[in-house]
């Protein structure tokens, strides 16, 4: 575990506070420092290394997770703001070890190369399909516009999401 920055006592307290939430369906309870981001909490405390840090400032979307049904940047959310929340990360997408339809379509369409953007991209796509099972191309673009990809050129990603939406609509298990 990373060394936490020490409390200098000059700029207010950093006493650890109890956080309880549900991550990928499991109840989690931990003592966290108030300035810990949700991103750091998921990576450092829970070892959910699928959650990536790119910019740390809301620009790239690599850290996207689903909190209470909404896609959010975990780098711009404090861990303590997740008190009582339901959090879904990429680790929670696959069911029983197998890949979900959405993940399979990403593989099939070459929607990933280096893979760094992929967990965040998948979470934005998951949140989209949960609120809109039949999105048009413009809606898909809008939903993932906050997820930067430097490898694929985006089109394979749009195709993968479109194909996954179709499979899910046809009643296939997520």
């Amino acid at each position: 575990m990373r060394e936490q920055p020490s409390n200098t006592g000059e700029t207010g307290g950093t006493d650890r506070v109890r956080l309880s939430c549900v991550v990928n369906g499991e109840k989690v309870s931990a003592l966290v420092e108030p300035h810990l981001t949700l991103l750091s909490f998921l990576r450092q405390e829970l070892k959910l290394l699928g959650v990536k840090e790119g910019c740390g400032e809301g620009e790239c979307g690599a850290c996207t997770v689903i909190m209470n049904g909404n896609a959010v940047n975990s780098c711009l959310t404090l861990a303590l703001e997740a008190e009582g929340a339901r959090i879904l990360t990429v680790e929670g997408l696959s069911n029983g070890g197998g890949l979900s339809a959405l993940q399979e379509e990403f593989v099939k369409h070459d929607a990933l190369q280096c893979g760094f953007c992929t967990p965040g991209m998948l979470m934005s796509a998951r949140a989209l399909l949960d609120r809109n099972p039949d999105p048009g191309t413009e809606e898909i673009k809008e939903a993932v516009a906050g997820n930067l990809c430097r490898c694929t050129g985006y089109y394979p990603i749009l195709e993968a999401i479109t194909a996954a939406a179709k499979r899910e609509r046809e009643g296939e298990q997520r």
């Binding site: 809301g58 934005s124 906050g146």
Partner: protein, 286 residues
């Protein structure tokens, strides 16, 4: 996150105001955190206390009363506005602006009140609030006050708010029948970016124009003098052209990494003309 602060999440307004009263200088209000947490990360801000206002019952309010207007609580997110059929119908310029702000994920956290309290010259929501003559409702332990939005901004990242004051909500009067409005934003890229220029135009049912801009002056700006000039002769087929010709005399754009002042003047004229034409043409999607 760099910095070291404690985190408070009061459940009542009284508690929150009490805390702000005791620690006005070292405490910062936390709404969506999409401005504040970036500032803390960059060590531009280093508050000792963050006061999360999202659990206060008052801040969650989002209520429209016919003939009166729309009340938007301080915890209401930008996506809530972007996706509201009511906002789309009654306050289209606000719906446009909400949909043009940042990315989907950021909009799920960002609040309208946080956007105006942050007081960026490039605020996307301010021009729409200016043309609808929004009122900012503020509370502190010493009482409450209501600030017309065009008196709210005082400069780059500056507002009339005092450190112990909390904005509880913003109120938008009902625009009434026949009201048309639109917000047009020019960025550097088609995807998300801060505005190079943003223009809100409203044409009321009685054919009065209201105009406001962002990223074209040190603070979001209502173009009152230009409005008066145009409204004095009445709305007609050449109003859009005239506005486009004149607007450069009423704004104070700067050159920065996003655009030159010259380009900003040019784009302000183009957006203004397009926006007025849009309202003239019945106000269907721009």
């Amino acid at each position: 996150m760099v910095g070291s602060f404690d985190y408070l999440r009061p459940q009542s307004l009284a508690e929150a105001l009490e805390f702000l009263h005791k620690q006005p200088e070292t405490c910062r209000v936390l709404a969506g955190g999409t401005d504040l947490l970036v500032l803390i990360r960059r060590s531009v801000a280093s508050p000792a206390h963050l006061l999360d206002i999202k659990a206060l019952p008052e801040t969650g309010r989002f209520e429209y009363t016919l003939g009166e207007g729309l009340l938007i609580g301080a915890a209401v997110t930008v996506n809530r506005l972007a996706e509201s059929p009511l906002v789309r119908e009654k306050y289209p310029a606000l719906a446009d602006a909400a949909g043009a702000l940042a990315t989907y994920q950021v909009r799920n956290r960002a609040t309208l009140v946080g956007n105006i309290c942050n007081a960026s010259p490039g605020s996307d929501l301010a021009p729409a609030l200016l043309v609808f003559e929004a009122r900012v409702r503020v509370k502190s332990l010493n009482g409450s006050r209501e600030i017309p939005i065009d008196e709210f901004f005082t400069g780059v990242k500056k507002t009339v708010l005092k450190p112990d004051e909390l904005v509880t909500e913003v109120f938008l009067p009902d625009p009434g029948e026949g009201d048309k409005s639109v917000y047009l934003k020019q960025g550097r890229v088609k995807g998300h970016d801060l505005a190079v220029a943003g223009v809100a135009v409203r044409l009321t049912g009685s054919k009065k124009l209201c105009l406001a801009v962002s990223a074209l002056a040190p603070a979001p700006l209502r173009l009152r003098h230009l409005e008066e000039m145009l409204n004095a002769v009445g709305f007609d087929a050449v109003t859009a052209e005239k506005a486009a010709l004149e607007v450069e005399h009423f704004i104070r754009p700067i050159s920065d990494i996003r655009a030159s002042a010259e380009y900003r003047k040019h784009i302000a004229a183009a957006l203004l003309k397009r926006a007025i034409r849009h309202c003239e043409g019945g106000g269907k999607s721009a």
